[in-house]
C-alpha cells in the first residue's frame, strides 16, 4: 500500500540505523508514546538494529490499557440491560473489569456489537428506535473527532436513543505525569504521530522546555520510527531539547483545525483516572454541558466506584515505562492473550500483547522485517 510499503523498506531502515550508530556516543533512554509504535518496534525488531546504548521505553499510549476498571464495570452493567445495544471498538471486549468483560456479557445474551466507526453506532440507533444504543467512546486525541462527530450528528438529528460512555484521555498531561515522576528514566520522547495529526505539535513545546527533553513527533512505520530515533538522539547528543516533526506528511504544526473545532464543541477537559497510574488532573475529555443528554453514565445512572485491586497485574508500571512486559511475573504464565489478567495483554496496542506476539520469553526479538500482514483496522 502506498505510504506504508515504502516506509518498511529494509535498505532505508539500515541507512538510518547506521546513521544512528554514527552519532551515538553515550546511553539514551527514549520513550515511544503510542502503543502502535510499540507494536511496530516489536514486530520489526527495530530495537535490535539500533545501537545497544539506546533503550526504547514503551509509553502509555494504549487507550484500552488506561481505561479504568470502574468504567469497564459500568460498560458491563449497561451492556447487560435488555433494552441496550452496546457498541464498542473490538479491543475493549476482552478487557477484564472487576467481575467480567464485555465478551462474557455477550455470551450471556447481551447485545454487544463491534463497530468500526462511531457514526455506525448512530446509524444503528436510527434503525433501532425501540432500543438504547450506547457507544463506548474511548481513545486519545486521535479518536476524539470521530467520537465528537457521532455525538454532534446524533444531537443535530435528535437521535435520542443514542448515548456515549466516555473515557477519553489526553497525551500531554500523561507525559507530564511520567516526566515528573521521581523514578522517571525518559530522556527523549517520540510523540504519537496520529494524536498530533489532530492536535498539532505546539502543545509539546512547553513540555520539552520544562523537562528539558527533546520531543520528536513520529510516525508508525519502521523508517518513521528510526528517523524519529535519529532526530531525538541527535538532539540529545547536541544538548538540545526542541520539538521536531518527523511525520510531516501527515502532521502540520497546528494540526487539523476542523477536527479540533469539533472536539471543542462536544468535549471539555476534565480530570481522568488512568488505569494503573491514578487520577491525573485535566487529562481527559468529557461531554460539554450542551451534549450532556448523550452521556450514558447519566442516562443509566451507573455508580462510579473506585478502582479495585489490580491483583497480580503490574500494568501501571508497564504503562509508565518503569518495567518491560517480560519483567512481569505473570507474563506468558498466568497471563496470556487467551486468559489476560490485564488490558495490556488484550489490546492490539498493549505492550504485553506486542511482546507475546513478537518476542521470545526473555524479551529478545524475533526480527520480522519482511512481515507485511494486512492492517488489522481493515479486517
Amino acid at each position: 500500500m502506498k505510504f506504508i510499503d515504502e516506509y518498511r523498506d529494509g535498505i532505508s531502515a539500515r541507512k538510518l540505523a547506521d546513521a544512528i550508530r554514527r552519532i551515538t556516543t553515550r546511553p539514551h533512554a527514549l520513550m515511544e508514546v503510542c502503543g502502535g509504535q510499540t507494536h511496530s518496534i516489536a514486530r520489526f525488531g527495530i530495537d535490535t538494529i539500533i545501537p545497544p546504548e539506546i533503550t526504547l521505553i514503551h509509553g502509555p499510549g494504549c487507550p484500552v490499557c488506561v481505561t479504568p476498571i470502574r468504567l469497564i464495570d459500568a460498560a458491563v452493567d449497561i451492556a447487560a440491560r435488555r433494552d441496550v445495544i452496546f457498541c464498542s471498538f473490538g479491543d475493549m471486549l476482552r478487557v477484564p473489569g472487576s467481575r467480567k468483560d464485555l465478551l462474557t456479557v455477550k455470551a450471556e445474551g447481551g447485545d454487544v456489537r463491534i463497530v468500526y466507526a462511531p457514526l455506525d453506532a448512530v446509524t444503528l440507533a436510527r434503525k433501532n428506535s425501540g432500543k438504547q444504543v450506547v457507544f463506548f467512546a474511548v481513545g486519545f486525541e486521535t479518536t476524539a473527532p470521530a467520537n465528537a462527530i457521532a455525538v454532534h450528528y446524533a444531537s443535530e438529528r435528535q437521535v435520542r436513543n443514542f448515548s456515549v460512555l466516555v473515557s477519553h484521555v489526553l497525551v500531554p498531561p500523561a507525559l507530564e505525569a511520567i516526566l515528573s515522576a521521581p523514578d522517571n528514566r525518559v530522556q527523549g520522547i517520540l510523540a504519537a504521530g496520529h494524536v498530533c495529526a489532530v492536535m498539532g505539535c505546539e502543545e509539546y513545546i512547553p513540555i520539552a522546555r520544562k523537562y528539558r527533553v527533546p520531543i520528536v513527533v513520529t510516525g508508525f512505520e519502521p523508517v518513521d520510527i528510526l528517523q524519529g530515533v535519529y532526530s531525538c538522539v541527535k538532539q540529545l547528543e547536541e544538548g538540545r531539547a526542541d520539538v521536531e516533526n518527523q511525520y510531516k506528511r501527515s502532521v502540520q504544526e497546528h494540526g487539523n483545525r476542523a477536527a479540533q473545532e469539533l472536539i471543542r464543541r462536544v468535549f471539555t477537559v476534565v480530570p481522568r483516572e488512568w488505569r494503573g497510574i491514578g487520577e491525573i488532573p485535566r487529562s481527559g475529555l468529557g461531554l460539554t454541558e450542551a451534549y450532556r443528554d448523550f452521556d450514558a453514565e447519566r442516562r443509566f445512572a451507573v455508580t462510579a466506584s473506585a478502582d479495585g485491586d489490580p491483583g497480580e497485574c503490574i500494568a501501571g508500571l508497564i504503562l509508565r515505562g518503569v518495567r518491560k512486559p517480560n519483567e512481569c511475573p505473570a507474563f506468558t504464565t498466568r497471563c496470556t492473550p487467551e486468559r489476560p489478567l490485564g488490558a495490556p495483554m488484550v489490546s492490539s496496542e498493549g505492550a504485553c500483547a506486542a511482546y507475546y506476539r513478537f518476542r521470545r520469553l526473555d524479551g529478545e526479538a524475533r526480527p520480522q522485517l519482511a512481515d507485511s500482514t494486512p492492517c488489522p483496522q481493515l479486517n
Partner: protein, 84 residues
Amino acid sequence: MCLAIPGRILDVRDDEPILRNGRVDFGGIIKQVSLACVPEARVGQYVLVHAGLAINIVDETEAQRVFDYIETIGELRELEPEAT
C-alpha cells in the same frame, strides 16, 4: 486504536458539511469514510483515516522528503573523516 491508515479518495459526496463523505480505497479495500474534517480534500488525494473519519490529507511532497533526508544523512557520512 490510534492506528490510522492512508487511502485514496474515489469520490466525494457533500450535501451537508457534517455528512461530507466518500469512498476511500485502501489498497483494493474500499470503505465509506467521513470527510467532514478534511473539507479541502479532493478525489485522487490520499487521506489518513481513523475510526471511519479522515483526520488529515497526506502531503505527497513531504512523504518523499523522508527519503531525500535519508540520502542526505547517507551522504554526510562520506564527508566524515572515518568514512574516507
